[in-house]
């Protein structure tokens, strides 16, 4: 018998088509596309290639990818603070830190700098915990991709014996848990396992995730088993492919099996993150940076026409000087807006924290600043929004004597 191929490439194309449609819908609804920040430390050629592949796939799916390339000599502290900035950046929906990072860096610390809501590669403790408890969250991308591939071929999981070879925190361990959550009976094997051949031979499903080329011999595979090879050393898998394919019912090729599914999962999760991010924004939890939004004119004069136009908006913002109003606003921003009779545009500008649009719609900075303060945003932050800078860049421009005109 010759195994049927679990064709990750073909399945990923179908997933990416769906992602592309979701991106289009998202863009139509929100006027922007999802954005993934990819962080590459150093110039390991393989890592560079992976990042480039991910960026290419993003482009095909219509996702904005924002590449951050950092010197190999960067310290853990510097990397952590750079990732924290991305975590705080309202223009970023998802963050991928390409691993492995250079040896001197504390990889776990760097991963943990990723805001869990943006952890589309599923590498944080928070994501791991959510997965372990079978709760909503982002799956580690490769395990998530493996599950999607098994599902695409309707491989039954309940009650079946899955043997996972490998126990890394972003591959072996999580894939075992995901299988467990789907009612498989899971055995973990690793470098210290005695009798690996026997264990593998008991498996209905083998997931090879050890990162050791050809560790798993084809003759170990039980006839009719499903073989998933997540080996990632160059183009050689962890499984002796030809021999295993003779015995297995299904098998993933390397390349073209698990790899493309990893990227597809990453992108699908990025769209999910963007949707959730947008929901948080419209609830006001995450103010939006200006450059992606309305562009500012040089000056805004609160003349009488603007005062008329902006009356409801300014009245709403002005009401936030009262503590009880601040509480009520935070409780339900949309309802609060409705009570103040804002125009649809004003309402949108408030809910999405489009600070420049507020001015365009008659807002006065002295009023809108009260809303900014409620969001714990400084006048330097707003200055940055109006001028296309970060708050830090704007504050630095002020420290160096302010911005000169004419």
């Amino acid at each position: 018998m010759t195994a049927q191929i679990l064709d990750g490439r073909a399945v990923s194309v179908a997933i990416l088509d769906r992602v592309r449609r979701e991106v289009d819908e998202f863009a139509a609804e929100h006027g922007r596309v999802p954005a993934l920040a990819t962080v590459l430390v150093g110039d390991d050629p393989a890592s560079r290639t992976y990042v480039r592949m991910k960026a290419n796939r993003c482009a095909k799916a219509g996702i904005d990818s924002h590449r951050v390339e950092l010197d190999a000599a960067i310290t853990t502290g510097e990397l952590v603070s750079r990732i924290r900035e991305l975590s705080a950046d309202p223009a970023v929906d998802g963050i991928l830190l390409q691993h492995p990072v250079p040896d001197h860096i504390d990889e776990r610390a760097a991963f943990e700098a990723i805001e869990p809501a943006k952890d589309v590669d599923g590498v944080t403790r928070a994501s791991f915990a959510a997965m372990a408890f079978d709760e909503d969250g982002f799956r580690s991308a490769t395990p998530g991709g493996i599950m999607a591939l098994l599902d695409a071929y309707d491989i039954p999981l309940p009650g079946r014996h899955a043997v996972v070879v490998g126990r890394s925190p972003i591959l072996g361990r999580p894939v075992g848990m995901l299988l467990l959550a789907r009612d498989a009976t899971v055995t973990y094997c690793h470098s210290r396992t005695a009798g690996l051949a026997e264990r593998v031979a008991e498996a209905d499903i083998v997931v090879a995730a050890a990162g050791r080329p050809r560790l798993i011999r084809g003759e170990w595979i039980r006839p009719g088993a499903v073989v998933v090879d997540a080996g990632y050393a160059g183009n050689t898998g962890d499984v002796e492919y030809e021999e295993a394919a003779e015995r297995a019912a299904f098998i993933t090729p390397v390349p073209g099996g698990v790899g493309p599914m990893t990227i597809a999962t990453l992108l699908a999760q990025t769209v999910r993150a963007a949707r959730a991010h947008q929901t948080r924004r419209s609830r006001g939890a995450v103010p939006v940076r200006g450059e992606a939004m309305t562009k500012a004119r040089d000056n805004y004069l609160l003349d009488l026409a603007a005062s008329r136009q902006g009356y409801a908006l300014n009245r709403l913002c002005g009401s936030l000087k009262d503590e009880e109003n601040r509480r009520r606003f935070l409780e339900d921003e949309a309802a609060y807006c409705d009570a103040y009779g804002l125009s649809a545009e004003q309402r949108k500008a408030i809910l999405e924290r489009d600070w420049t649009a507020m001015l365009e719609l008659g807002g006065s900075i002295f009023y809108t600043f009260k809303l900014a303060m409620l969001d714990k945003k400084s006048m330097q932050y707003l200055g940055g929004v109006f001028t296309g800078m970060s708050a830090e860049e704007f504050a630095a421009a002020m420290r160096s004597g302010g911005r000169k005109f004419g």
Binding site: Y311, R315, K321, S364, F366, T387
Partner: protein, 286 residues
């Protein structure tokens, strides 16, 4: 009779107050500014007024866009410190000088300034920050009573600089005609160049500010002749607050002496300055 003993021009940037409230005046960011205040504060501590007439603008706190008085005078016995949206400044409430307020309102009306009166007024950073610049550690009470004088500088068209200067002259005459033996200080607040919103946010125009700092003493008519559009173009949409310095300057009598000044960039998004003038009185020789 009451007399004006000094005039203080000072920025009223909220973060200057916050730096004092949060004990940050020795931080590298703030130290140069507060060091610059030093000599003026020492001199003012030795020349305590009974009443401060503080010319300032409200920032969407006591006055909203329902009613926008161009010039207003507080007439209350006391003024609460405003919650501007992030909690009240931890400074004492402001005690009014209602008799002087009434006198000012009547005299100003008779001088053809049709003044709005404020019987209830929560005073915001525009008034309390200048008081803190004068007196950093007031303890339980400010060392003087206060008459707030409000100028609309937020909604366009603002009063002209010339009208502000004339208002100051009328306030000076009114103070000097008040039949109590009071020492009065006049505060002109706001500025210097700054713009908070729009693509020109962060604007600082040191050349204009330096010119203004000099001319406020020697050539106030030149500053009074500038249009509101000039102020906005040169000093920024919020830099037009400088017209309130002209109210202070107008209230000074003919002879004055510059005690101290200081200029510093930035106080958050603003060029911050202080200029202190002793009023030498009509008959004095400068």
């Amino acid at each position: 009779m009451a007399r004006v003993i000094w005039g203080l021009a000072t920025s009223h940037v909220p973060s200057i107050g916050a730096a004092m409230d949060n004990g940050k005046t020795e931080d590298p960011y703030w130290k140069p500014l507060f060091d610059g205040y030093g000599p003026a504060r020492e001199w003012m501590a030795e020349h305590r007024p009974d009443v401060a007439v503080v010319v300032y603008n409200d920032h969407a706190n006591a006055i909203d866009l329902d009613l926008v008085p161009t010039f207003a005078v507080g007439t209350a016995e006391s003024y609460d410190v405003a919650d501007e949206g992030w909690g009240r400044r931890p400074v004492p409430p402001v005690v009014g000088a209602p008799q002087l307020s009434e006198h000012l309102v009547r005299e100003l009306m008779d001088s053809s300034f049709d003044i709005t009166t404020c019987h209830r007024l929560d005073v915001d950073h525009g008034l309390t920050v200048p008081l803190s610049v004068y007196c950093p550690d007031p303890g339980d009470a400010w060392p003087c009573a206060v008459v707030p004088v409000l100028v609309n500088v937020i909604q366009y068209p603002q009063p002209t600089a010339a009208r502000c200067y004339a208002l100051g002259e009328a306030i000076g005459r009114a103070i000097r005609s008040f039949p109590q033996d009071l020492k009065v200080a006049v505060f002109g607040t706001g500025g210097m160049s700054h713009q908070l919103a729009g693509a020109r946010a962060g604007l600082i125009n040191e050349r204009f500010d330096r010119m203004f700092l000099d001319a406020i003493e020697h050539d106030p008519e030149k500053l009074a002749a500038l249009s509101r559009e000039d102020y906005i173009a040169e000093a920024g949409t919020e830099g037009i607050e400088l017209i309130m310095w002209l109210v202070m300057r107008g209230a000074m009598s003919g002879k004055l002496a510059r005690i101290h000044d200081t200029y510093h960039v930035p106080a958050s998004n603003t060029a911050a300055a202080l200029a202190l003038f002793e009023d030498l009185g009509e008959g004095a020789s400068a």
